[in-house]
Subunit: 211 residues, 2 copies
């Protein structure tokens, strides 16, 4: 059955790979599954046809026969569950890899999103400058803990997994801020993710649309 | 094997059930598994013994024989995967229920957390009053979309699932703000969750510690 995902017709990041379709493309490349892409305009995101697929009017979505999914974490998990390559076989190791997926999305990404919001959508507000140190400090606190846990390991728990795919993707959103480079082991961790052939193919594929 | 979770020795919410151990207690009650609780003080959260279990120094954690997990979403998912009662048998329905878990944690909870942060941790800041409408509006936008999708259904996709458990738990954090009541169908959805015998047992169990 053909796998079809959606992506922005024109990504707001101009091809830096930060739109969430890159995460799904990366997972598809890691598990070696071909896929098609349907590009969606900003206007179409809020129209009934797309809202039927994605109640929050975002990309990416995932269609495969009768199955329609939204939410990047769920799509990557579905692929990881279905095809070998993104989750360990051992049940306990598998549960721990899934833990890192949730940690990336629910513990690390929220303060990073707050920073992105502060830098972009509240940049012109009167409080922007005074509030920024608070927002940055919340990100730093989480990165410090993550860096402590990673230590000198290559990946968060044994071999590369869907947990690393998600964590690297979330951390990539920080690069424009410069904060990632304050934590050299995390910057190296992200670079290891970007060096994977599957990531490179995913990045090139989104760049072909947005570059 | 005995299941042991951690919870606050004294929850900051004084027993309203908003600390995240309630989500795990609820899942354990839904699948009918007994569990033990180890209470942790605020100081102990940041000590090496607890950080070894939870790199971000939070509760809850989950221990069962050799397996140690953190991150509420991962723990609830582990239970839902392992015991019947929280995920449908059909593979596609199961993938959709998991989608709602991720949507609760990565799409609905982040703006709610921002609101909690604004109301509690930035309440004394000079920008608090002027910024609040923006923060509230972000929450409303998501609730409107969620309410549209729920429509007149009892649960998000067929029978009650781990996706509903997580969504109801996330929405409960909004109750003190009054915003939930602006969306009567969501308020009723949350009330349906709270009316479940398993939720009531979980709530009572945390209240016995914090009340």
């Amino acid at each position: 059955m053909t796998i079809t995902i959606t992506a922005f017709e024109r990504s707001p990041d101009g091809g830096k790979g930060l739109a969430r379709d890159t995460r799904v493309r990366w997972a598809l490349e890691e598990v070696g599954q071909p896929y098609e892409v349907r590009l969606v305009s900003f206007r179409a995101l809020k129209e009934p046809a797309h809202l039927a697929l994605h109640p929050f009017g975002q990309i990416p979505t995932y269609e495969e026969g009768e199955l329609a999914l939204f939410e990047t974490g769920a799509i990557v998990f579905h692929l990881a569950q279905r095809y070998p390559g993104l989750l360990p076989e051992d049940a306990n190791a598998r549960a721990r890899a899934i833990t890192w997926m949730f940690a990336a999305l629910n513990t690390i990404e929220p303060p990073i999103l707050e920073l992105v919001t502060a830098r972009i959508f509240e940049a012109d507000k009167p409080w922007a400058k005074d509030r920024m140190p608070l927002v940055v400090e919340r990100v730093r606190a989480r990165l410090k803990q993550l860096s402590d846990r990673l230590g000198t390991a290559d990946w968060l728990d044994g071999a590369f997994s869907a947990g690393d795919l998600m964590m690297v993707s979330v951390l990539l959103r920080l690069r424009p801020s410069g904060i990632l480079d304050e934590f050299p082991s995390l910057a190296a961790y992200v670079a290891r993710g970007e060096a994977r052939p599957a990531y490179k193919r995913a990045f090139e594929a989104q760049l072909a649309v947005n570059g």
